[in-house]
């Protein structure tokens, strides 16, 4: 995977994870253009498209679009499953996740993603294990000696 973007139906970015080295300017341009392209697609169209020289896989969950750019050899259908797994993880963690959860707890969304994917590939295929790791890490955060200091 080269990158993953989460954005709202108004085109506001809620999460951006880049697995390839690109400057801030390039990232902004790609995000802007790709978001426009996807938002312009009709609901009946398929989840895959070729954009520039990338394969794009995207799926809409409620008000959020989950969009991944994958390599040529990557299996599009399993990428859809990866996206779905991530949504399930968020759902389990936040309890019936909605866009607001991701807005107000964006750093947690990143932490969860980083326990699920690493360098663009899945590192853990067990839902249980990912959630367990996050739980433990959260506990560790709570127990740091400057206790109670929250972001």
């Amino acid at each position: 995977m080269q990158f993953m973007l989460l954005f709202s139906r108004q085109g506001k970015l809620r999460l951006q994870k880049w697995y390839v080295p690109l400057s801030d300017k390039e990232r902004k341009k790609i995000s802007r253009d790709l978001v426009q392209t996807i938002l312009a697609r009709k609901p009946k169209m398929c989840s895959f498209l070729e954009w520039r020289d990338l394969k794009i896989v995207y799926k809409r969950y409620a008000s959020l679009y989950f969009c991944c750019a994958v390599e040529d050899q990557d299996n599009e259908l399993i990428t859809l499953e990866i996206i779905h797994r991530y949504v399930e993880l968020l759902d389990k963690y936040f309890g019936s996740v909605c866009e607001l959860d991701i807005i107000f707890n964006f750093e947690k969304a990143y932490f969860i993603l980083d326990e699920f994917l690493l360098g663009g590939e899945a590192q853990e295929t067990s839902k249980k294990n990912v959630l367990k790791a996050i739980e433990q890490a959260d506990l560790l955060q709570e127990n740091t000696f400057s206790s109670g200091m929250r972001c």
Binding site: C46, F106, L118, Q123
Partner: protein, 823 residues
């Protein structure tokens, strides 16, 4: 100083902003506060401030001033700080910035931290954005962690290693030992990441690939793991809709693909498991189909037995019928990849594929179109073309050009009859005429010319199409050309194929003149129209009207049009005797390679695109005199002069080179008429000098035709070397090599040649006009001779040059061509 506001508080506040300007103001205020807090080196709230900065960065605001703060957070001992610090590094830093190198030491320490979650953070960050330098520095640590028994760290280390290998491929070797028992792990996370690591290594290095195949016996191991996944019962931890760990299954199948490719043994070893997966996987949900898809890709790529391949294609066929458009998309993509190798199997699904042309999704339509064209053959051409033409009618503009080209190609290859072919072309021109590619116009014209019996029918249909619509330029151009060429058939009222229409000469001229004045016509089209009108002067009786039109355009603002009109005018006046022959019906054209390089013929300083198979109209400008001179000198009815300077300049027209020279000037293919009777028809006298036919060069010319000396006198020697022109074997390509053994250079060197009537000759531009003295160099020039009747090649040459201030001129006949050059 009050505590900086909390992250969630800030988010809430910013979201209350009603306008962009209001939001910007809030952001700026907060940024200022954060900046001053950073300046004060506040450790307590650094984490909070960076988190807020990251939020604002996501909204699109600059956050570079927080980069160093991220590093400070990473270096902190607090887990909270590290978490946000690493996140900030991944979001704000990229490897192009020098700052990120400062992380290396922190990461190194954290890789050895006592808490696995800290180690995890470090591995994650390194594996996500580590630069080559960082990877080089830290590869050792990663390798160490790859061997740990802690599966939480092991799986992360494996993916981190993948990143290191991608950045620094030379380091791949060092990870090899650690891979030894990766696959004996029970932990699925480790298994999955290990398979990814092994895949990366095998893809990058053929040596590694061979090693894993032979020494490690990877295939049996993978087959075993896959089998367990399929056979074992329900495992709640890894289950997805009844399938056990589909992610791992897919990765294993992908690695098997790489291992089995071009390797019989490996392919054989995985045959059974592939068949098992292909037949047993549940297809009701996307998960199952994802696995089937990967299986199909693997089966098609390895050396599988034919039964398995058919099974795979049938799976794709079933995919095509699936309601889920994603599945259909994936099926079409795969079929496109396999249509060449497993053509017959794919043919069985042709009707389903054709149905996909009507799909609503653009990507599916495009693939269905490409696949349809790949499946067209002699048997299904009629049916397929019907569908494809219907598609052409209704598809989006972005498809029309490709579809039109595809239709032309398919029609050319498999047309069941000439009439069908012409009809198909007409249909494309009338429905998608403006999307047709530029090079189609000359191709179509050539096609039409060669369908001799269809000329009347074709011109009639094109004429009728013009009456309907003159906006589509390719259609108009082809139509004008045809009317110019076959206008006589049009007005004669004869047509076998359909009801002939009654049309008068004036009506035809009305239409053509209409094209000239219409705003819809491009300059190129106008050129076609004018030339067509001119051609009709020998086919119609209303010559005066044509003369008038031509003379009007003699003062056209369009330079191209003006030039043509002026020259055509000249044809009416001074060269009227040449007009009938010049404007004769075109002969059947040879198919030329339109992709060949464009050669330039030197024309008194102007350059022209030249043509492989050449036609030779005498020019209407000054060079004609030269032509007559040569003719006078060489005399005889049996000689056709070849003039180097032939055509007046034309701009690049819509057609290819072939049409430029042939179509626009509508010149006859036949030789120009014999010169005026005043020229003596007696045998010309030449100075034949001792022509030796010994091959001069030891290296034999291409096609084994020996070179020869054509002329050798007064220090000037001219040798000919031969090769056959590709693709036309009737064309001999002769290269002349002129060398000068005298003490002084021969300047203003001009080589001219003439051949008998049955031949056609084309002279390309010479390498130079100066033949250096004392054999210090040669002037080369290429002659192309078309010899369709395979007659004995003879040539008369005229040489002019200046030597030591005086002009020298000589004539010679070349008779000693080796038989292979013209047989």
């Amino acid at each position: 100083m009050p505590a900086p506001i909390r992250l969630r508080e800030l988010i809430r506040t910013i979201r209350t902003a009603r306008t962009q300007a209001e939001e910007r103001e809030m952001i700026q205020k907060e940024c200022a506060a954060i900046r001053s807090s950073f300046r004060e080196e506040d450790n307590t709230y650094r984490c909070r401030n960076v988190a807020k900065l990251l939020y604002m960065h996501m909204l699109g605001y600059p956050a570079h001033f927080g980069q160093l703060e991220c590093l400070k957070l990473i270096a902190s001992q607090k887990f909270t700080d590290k978490r946000i610090g690493y996140l900030g590094a991944m979001l704000l830093l990229d490897e192009r910035q020098d700052v990120h190198l400062l992380m290396t030491n922190c990461i190194k320490n954290d890789l050895n931290h006592s808490t696995q979650y800290v180690q995890g953070l470090a591995l994650c960050t390194l594996g996500c954005m580590g630069s080559s330098e960082m990877c080089r520095d830290l590869a050792g640590e990663v390798e160490k962690l790859l061997k740990t028994s802690n599966s939480y760290l092991r799986k992360k280390a494996a993916l981190c290693a993948v990143h290191v290998i991608r950045k620094v491929p030379e380091l791949m070797e060092m990870f090899l030992p650690a891979t030894k028992n990766l696959l004996s792990e029970k932990n699925h996370g480790v298994l999955h990441t290990s398979v990814v690591l092994l895949t990366e290594m095998c893809e990058r290095s053929p040596d590694m690939l061979a090693h894993f195949r032979k020494n490690e016996k990877l295939v049996p191991q993978l087959v075993r793991i896959l089998k367990n996944l399929i056979m074992s019962g329900y495992s709640p931890e890894h289950d997805v809709s009844g399938i056990s760990d589909p992610f791992l299954q897919v990765r294993i199948l992908r690695l098997l693909r790489i291992l089995g490719k071009s390797d019989d043994d490996s392919s054989e070893a995985m045959n059974d498991i592939l068949a098992q997966v292909a037949t047993n996987t549940e297809t009701s949900k996307n998960v199952g189909n994802a696995i089937l898809y990967e299986t199909v890709l693997t089966i098609m790529d390895i050396k599988s037995e034919s039964g398995l391949r058919v099974l795979a294609i049938n799976i794709l066929g079933r995919f095509l019928l699936n309601n889920d458009k994603n599945i259909r998309y994936v099926a079409l993509t795969s079929l496109l990849k396999t249509v060449q190798t497993d053509h017959n199997a794919v043919q069985r699904h042709r009707s389903t594929i054709v149905d996909c042309l009507k799909d609503l999704d653009v990507s599916i339509k495009r693939r269905a179109m490409e696949l349809s064209f790949a499946l067209v053959n002699g048997n299904n051409i009629r049916g397929m073309m019907k569908e494809l033409l219907y598609f052409l009618d209704s598809c989006d503009p972005e498809f029309k050009a490709d579809c039109a080209s595809g239709v032309f190609l398919a029609a050319e290859k498999y047309a069941p009859s000439k009439r069908w072919h012409i009809d198909t072309i007409m249909r494309v021109l009338t429905t998608a005429g403006s999307y047709v590619r530029d090079d189609s116009v000359p191709n179509l014209i050539q096609l039409i010319t060669n369908s001799v019996e269809m000329h009347a029918y074709t011109v009639q249909r094109l004429y009728k199409a013009l009456l309907d619509d003159i906006s589509q330029q390719p259609l108009v151009q082809v139509a004008s050309w045809c009317i110019g060429e076959y206008g006589d058939l049009l007005v004669s009222g004869q047509c076998e194929e359909e009801e002939p229409i009654q049309v008068t000469e004036d009506e035809v001229l009305d239409v053509l003149e209409g094209l000239l004045v219409s705003n819809l016509s491009t300059p190129v089209t106008r050129g076609y129209a004018l030339t067509a009108i001119m051609k009709l002067s020998t086919r119609f009786s209303s010559v005066n009207r044509i003369k008038k039109v031509v003379s009007i355009y003699g003062s056209s603002i369009d330079v191209e049009l003006q030039q043509r009109a002026v020259e055509y005018n000249a044809l009416f006046k001074k060269y009227d005797h040449m007009r009938p022959a010049l404007l004769e019906r075109m002969p059947i054209m040879e198919k030329t390679a339109t992709n060949g390089p464009t050669e330039i013929v030197q024309t008194n300083g102007e350059t022209e695109p030249s043509v492989v198979e050449s036609k030779h109209p005498p020019p209407v400008t000054q060079p004609t005199n030269q032509a007559n001179d040569l003719l006078d000198l060489l005399g005889g009815n049996d000689v056709v002069p070849v003039i180097q300077t032939t055509m007046p300049t034309k701009p690049a027209s819509a057609g290819g080179e072939l049409l430029d020279l042939l179509g626009d000037l509508s010149l006859s293919g036949g030789p120009p008429p014999a010169p005026a009777p005043s020229v003596p028809t007696s045998q010309p006298s030449f100075l034949l000098d001792g022509l030796s036919s010994q091959p001069l060069f030891n290296d034999i010319a291409a096609a084994g035709i020996p070179p020869m000396t054509a002329y050798n006198k007064n220090g000037l020697k001219i040798d000919f070397t031969f090769e056959r022109a590709n693709p036309n074997p009737n064309i001999a390509v002769i290269t002349i090599h002129a060398s000068n053994s005298t003490e002084a250079d021969m300047t203003d060197f001009v080589f001219q040649a003439a051949v008998p009537k049955t031949f056609q000759l084309q002279l390309l531009s010479p390498s130079s006009n100066v033949v250096p003295a004392l054999n210090q160099g040669t002037v080369t020039q290429v002659i192309r001779v078309l010899n369709p009747q395979k007659q004995q090649l003879r040539m008369r040459i005229k040489l002019t040059y200046t030597l030591k201030g005086s002009a020298v001129q000589d004539l010679a006949e070349v008779n000693n061509f080796p038989p292979q050059s013209w047989q």
